[in-house]
Symmetry: C2
Subunit: 120 residues, 2 copies
């Protein structure tokens, strides 16, 4: 299945989801799917967050507290859930503040494997 199709299914499975993107830890995006009427610049957000995830990966190595599985950053306007797909790429799912955060975590975990296979 094509990347964008998997990302579309993730977004459409979660109430309040507005977009999803697969992007490298170096900030170079692979593909994204964003709802049409959304003003959020998911691309820019993911580029900024890629640098934060790199720092988190380094910190977890220093602490020896296990591999990064999921990071979320929630503000008054947007919730973003991120999961590693491979050592080089992660997927980020953005939701409105009222979006279904628990469902978002579940669907992203469920479909990260599909994205990994599509990258192979």
């Amino acid at each position: 299945m094509a990347f964008k199709e998997i990302l579309r299914q993730v977004v459409e499975s979660v109430d309040g989801a507005i977009g999803a993107i697969v992007i490298g830890y170096d900030g170079i995006p692979i593909d994204e799917y964003v709802l049409e009427d959304v003003t959020l610049d998911l691309h820019l957000l993911a580029v900024e967050y890629s640098s934060i995830l790199r720092d988190i990966k380094k910190t977890l190595e220093v602490l020896g507290s296990g591999d990064m599985e999921e990071v979320s950053i929630n503000t008054g306007t947007t919730r973003v859930i991120m999961r590693p797909v491979t050592d080089e790429f992660f997927v980020a799912l953005a939701l409105e503040a009222e979006g279904n955060f628990g469902k978002g975590r579940f669907v992203l975990k469920r479909d990260a494997g599909k994205l990994r296979e599509a990258l192979a």
Copy 2:
């Protein structure tokens, strides 16, 4: 109510919670409550994460995407949920990997106000 008492109530309200700490974004801790038989160094972890939260705050300002409300960093062994208490301090709740993440988010949100009052 004393800090440690609020932190104890948070930890004891959540299945799988192992400790909670209030710490400054500068990495200087105020108080913590950690279960006795836990090997996790919550203090060290919170110091490392304080630097990550500082970067996230800066990034959110650049993006203009709302104030930081909640950040979580989950690994194969530990889940950590963090919320700002004031502009200077945040609270971090650590759970085992099998801990009740949803309940942890709920309780931390519910009790962040008590911690804010205790700081005032």
